[in-house]
Subunit: 457 residues, 2 copies
Amino acid sequence: MSNSAAIERLKNQFQDRCVTTDAMREQYSQNEAHHTPVRPDAILFPESTDEVRQIIEVCRDTQCPVTAYGAGTSLEGHIVPVRGGISLDMGRMKGILAVNQEDMDAVVQPGVTRRQLNEDLRATGLFFPVDPGADASIGGMAATRASGTNAVRYGTMRECVLACEAVLADGRVIRAGSRSRKSAAGYDLCKLLVGSEGTLGIMTELTVKLFGQPEAVSSAVCGFQTLEGAVQAVIETIQMGMPVARIEFLDELQLRAVNAYSKMDIPERPTLFLEFHGSENSVAEQAERFGEIASEHGGLGFDWATREEDRNRLWRARHDAYYGVKAMWPGKRGYITDSCVPISKLAEAIRETKAEIEASGLIAPMVGHVGDGNFHLAIMIDPDDPDEMKAAERLSHSIAERSLRLGGTVTGEHGVGLGKIKYMEAEHGAAYGVMAEIKRVFDPQNILNPGKLISLN
Amino acid sequence: MSNSAAIERLKNQFQDRCVTTDAMREQYSQNEAHHTPVRPDAILFPESTDEVRQIIEVCRDTQCPVTAYGAGTSLEGHIVPVRGGISLDMGRMKGILAVNQEDMDAVVQPGVTRRQLNEDLRATGLFFPVDPGADASIGGMAATRASGTNAVRYGTMRECVLACEAVLADGRVIRAGSRSRKSAAGYDLCKLLVGSEGTLGIMTELTVKLFGQPEAVSSAVCGFQTLEGAVQAVIETIQMGMPVARIEFLDELQLRAVNAYSKMDIPERPTLFLEFHGSENSVAEQAERFGEIASEHGGLGFDWATREEDRNRLWRARHDAYYGVKAMWPGKRGYITDSCVPISKLAEAIRETKAEIEASGLIAPMVGHVGDGNFHLAIMIDPDDPDEMKAAERLSHSIAERSLRLGGTVTGEHGVGLGKIKYMEAEHGAAYGVMAEIKRVFDPQNILNPGKLISLN
């Protein structure tokens, strides 16, 4: 079906905020990962909920696909408009509409990025904890149910989005959830929209939980003799209920890339990056206890960072891990995997994965939000080398199957998008059919991000 | 429509586990609250998921209503089978199927009660935190999205149910969620079922989060000169991010009933019951900090309970608050209200409510899970006195409207059931229409707990 009718109407309504140049269409065809680019027919830049509603109504009337676009940092091809149509760039809806300090929540438009929000909050003593690494938009993070390094203590977007406003495929605008901290008032539509990847509605406003900036923070780097030792230390730390804020694993190869890119000199061993939040006493106590656990598992002592600039440098390096990898193997692209298992299975999952990397001959540094049982590989491939691509697919497939066999999920935090759709039946069984029924109710014409999360045919 | 065809088939299949005696039908017609009793045609006692499936298939084929029944402790008429049919008593599905100590989760059948689970967990060092007071079933608690005294620290059933199995209205058995701590794999059907009050499916298995039993626990009772002072102390405690485990408000009248029923002698003032969980140091630190906050707001000093038996006695008394009220005003029934507002609005909500109680002349002791912005009245009425009933309805209505005006919800934790259905449109607006569409997809014949949460006509 041609989308020209939609584009013509939208051009009239939105003028230079409806862009159809080749250069821009090319730019919006891509994503950060390895998925095949597809160009949208036009890119729209709405500035309000009402404009989003107007665009959706045109798309509804003309059956034109709409793919929402946040900061462009998603990793499963969510933003690739596989059936053309409209790329809906939410980046101009950047308003922080309210910061309710007493209630520790903020109401934001979807294009606000997590760094923008935290900058804005700096003077309040509050912060927004969800931190997927990239400076993603809050709307995109909600749509993909993002998490990241702080989730072990503060939860993911599932826990941190209290309410949202969304435009549905028929143009209705709904509000789901409320600012009260709990509610038993009916079906949890807010949690249904969080993680729905723009396939059920376009989120136009979000109310997110904030937390008090901890009185004391201390970060540490701790190398281990073995990978197993590092993972066991994590498992015991979690099991004793210690409220560690971050507990991140990096393997030797990943550390080598981090050292080179971020000009650090951390010994290249299986290593944990940690952060403790709390009162001065509680942070000291947590650190001491972790130290005891680590030393039982071959921990080689801490390198501490208590000054804010040292901590920032450390976490900047962790966040830049992927850029480090890209810089170390120029010309290669990252094929990113995303496995999450019950923590009792984490050592097994990582050990078997490492053996498979070894056998495959691929370059695949590992990082992990191991406190949640979640880890990633960046399999570095030459996109023009079909053998390498196939080997990466095989490895990724094996990791996904193992996640399911061990009682986990094929995606801890990157979402389904294009890349994980083929596992949904295996992961959810009959429940996947129910998801398709829900999709049909919300979007009977399949115009909202078609081809992602659910295959409707 | 007659349900005799269904009953006949079920009698044949289930024999003496399909009960149709008058005495039993009478027993299952009632609930703990003030709703008008309605008898089911039969009570069924399934012992497995497959038996639930068989029953649902009969009900599907005969369009016979099915109302799930847990421990019978819900407060909004959820278990009153308003259109007759089957009361499905899940009480024989009491198996604790797995306790995964390393992963800190448990897999249970829906009839397991929270006390049963915690008894079973005693030796493991773990506990299940959600505690609505009554010894409710885990299935019922999930269905109504229950919470209670511990929610301020450990979350509600929304946060604590990781996965579930459910039988849908057409007999399909689905599994939603997984044992991994996070997932971005598609629509969150588990969170959609939690809080759906048996209207979308019958939960037949639940995976719930467990937590480490705290190393140290200390409880305290702290009276205040004024209600405002007590509420302000709560607000500041929450805002400073203190991980208090319980922070419960009782007014003078409620304390009088507690003292009489539980043979305690707590001074009859606006009072907070508190509990701190953590390491020895952290508990001491929390208590000290709370003490400073309290003394700024007219706190009259603590009465400490650190010995386990004293703590148990205190919380037993708190849990028996409603029984205390019933004992103090024999012959009356409690009309229970349930308001939850953003914590910045809590003082206003409580102050206005108190003034209305005063003006109404009703007896209405107040308790509150004030750390979440949630409070309840037990309005004591003579069910045979229509004037008193009307006055209670007026007061309850005013509380519900105020909750919405202040950005809150008409039900923090008791659910919608019969009592709150009339506010759903006001609370959710267009989103309530979407809930109805979801209900129609899951249950097109409206056989699952019809008349609750959603009005389909």
